[in-house]
Amino acid sequence: MREITFAQATLEAMEEEMTRDERVFVMGEDIARQGGIFGQFKGLPQKFGLDRVKDTPISETAIVGAGVGAALGGMRPVVDMHFADFMGVAMDELFNQMAKIHFMFGGQRPVPVVVRAPDGLTNQAAAQHSQSIEAWFLHIPGLKVVIPSNPADAKGLLKSAIRDDNPVIYFEHKRLFPVKGPVPDGEVLVPIGKAAVTKPGKDITIVSYSYTMRVVMDAVSILEKDGIDPEVIDLRTISPIDKDTILNSVAKTRKLAIAHEAVKQGGVGAEIAAIVAEEGLDYLDAPVLRFGAPFTPVPFARTLEAAYRVKAEDIYSGIRALF
């Protein structure tokens, strides 16, 4: 299978969906002339014109709000947030308008908007350009939230998100953009709401997503040397959460660890731990392990950022201690 980068995979998804459906368009800051900061929109304006690949003013509220209005008017907008951190500027549009219109108006019209939000630690970008804020959106009914960890899922989830009639927030980790991986030719659709068991195993279930999947896999290779065989689940969608895949796995392995880059407090890991406590407590032979960032804003200095980051060694030693 050919290998392409995560950025190229999202670009292919956009190209294919914009070709398939004329109502699909994209808008955001500096996406057309610059091709996106991470190259994720390169070439789209040449192919589809500046009418369907729109550079906007720096107006996050209007970008998301007009995206929602355009969806109500019959289009299928993809809006780019530049950095996930700036979603706060458009928060009302995200959680009071986009998420609720379908329910509040009695299901009269769907709101097919995709919000692309590059998140995560990269390049010592400090407190306002590095956050992992996916948990905010886990708490809002009406939204779907997807978060791929590799190029194939990046393509497949973006295509599914664009075709979904619901508002979908698509988090894409900035450090994944240059990462290469195998992506099948032709149609790749990854179902929203379905986690992937990326490595079967029997000794412990490790649930993760996004860039941290790579960290987890590094930890797994050390654990395997010690004769521990973890099962690894890539969530891919964090809302709705694929409870079944998690619970089935924990029933088999009887242990659970969750790892993500976002702060541990109030995070996706907390939700998964709670689900297993509620619905699968009897499966557990050990306390649930959670790996996440400390409860502090993202720091700048190299040493501090390194201390903030969840590392493979942390995951390894945390899990090793259970055996």
Partner: protein, 321 residues
């Protein structure tokens, strides 16, 4: 009025009276404890929704505010389904999930009332963007208050609509108050229409209590939008006769002041004076319209009261499409 089509005059009157009677009914039943939640009345501002929406077809869009009953009625929504929604009934526009602040009727281009002040502006802007991209001749109108004009949504939407030349009309209803705060103490410009200049679009001021003036001003803005000329800002000056919400103790103004102003500004009695002094519509015609509307509202009320409340299982429908 001389030169005005009789059918249009009747339409103006029917719409304004429907809004007035609808709201008086809602007020009465709210005060009787039969309607839950919040209700914000539009009484005294009827000429604005009426004059604006008379320029629109059901293909055109409007996005409304927390004070949205008048906009919905003027855009052609069914008063029975509106009433049922306000009563929280299953037969309401939103199956009882929205209430007074969230009435929508997408079938007539009414994209919803909004519980968030200033929420209408980017939504209408986006609907106008869709119309432009789909090469439809539709226009979108965002209704919003003087208070909302201080929100970022106004400024961002106005700028975006202007640089993209979108077919949208920003229709500010300046009723002199944002909740308890008078216009003068919250807004930096003499007239909100002045703000249009900052965004490169025409800004006009119109007497919002005069349905003819509103109709003409909106007509020019709609024609400009439909013709590809881009957005406009129209500021309709009016006065909020009722409290901010039903039950507002109104400590910020006197009852006398309100009565005195209403005597001068009431758009419905003003319309009656205008048409009867010129003999454009007979007293009998006006009375027969009133009777017809009263029947309609009575039916709406009965429909709402007889309708069942939603089943609790409905909680889980419509969360996702």
């Amino acid at each position: 009025m001389v030169g005005w089509d009789e059918e249009l005059l009747c339409r103006f009157y029917r719409t304004m009276v429907t809004i007035r009677f609808f709201e008086q009914t809602v007020e009465k039943h709210f005060l009787a404890g039969e309607i839950p939640g919040f209700v914000h009345l539009y009484i005294g501002e009827e000429a604005i929704a009426t004059g604006v929406c008379a320029n629109l077809t059901t293909d055109d869009y409007i996005a409304s505010t927390h004070r949205g009953h008048g906009h919905s009625i003027a855009k052609g929504a069914d008063v029975s389904r509106m009433m049922a929604e306000i009563f929280g009934r299953k037969t309401g526009y939103c199956k009882g999930k929205g209430g007074s602040m969230h009435i929508a009727d997408f079938s007539v281009g009414m994209l919803g009332a909004n519980g968030v002040v200033g929420g209408s502006l980017p939504l209408a802007t986006g609907a106008a963007l869709a119309a432009k991209m789909l090469r439809q001749k539709r226009v979108a109108v965002a209704f919003f208050g003087d208070g909302a004009s201080n929100r970022g949504t106004f400024h961002e939407s106005a700028n975006l609509a202007s640089v993209w030349k979108l077919p949208v009309i920003f229709l500010c209803e300046n009723n002199q108050y944002a909740s308890t705060t008078p216009y003068r103490s919250s807004t930096s410009v003499e007239d909100i229409a002045d703000r249009a200049r900052g965004y490169g679009m025409p800004g006009v001021i119109v007497d919002g209590n005069d349905v003819f003036a509103v109709y003409e001003a909106a007509k020019a803005a709609v024609e400009r939008a439909r013709g590809g000329g881009g957005p406009s800002l129209v500021e309709a000056k009016t006065y909020r006769i009722k409290g901010h919400f039903v039950g507002d103790p109104e400590l910020y103004r006197s009852k006398e002041e309100v009565q005195e102003i209403f005597a001068k500004t009431d758009p419905i009695s003003r319309f009656e004076r205008q048409v009867s002094s010129e003999g454009s519509l007979s007293r009998e015609k006006l009375d027969s319209i009133k009777l017809e509307v009263q029947e309609l509202i009575d039916k709406a009320l009965a429909f709402a009261k007889e309708s069942p409340e939603p089943d609790p299982s409905e909680l889980f429908s419509d969360v996702y499409a």
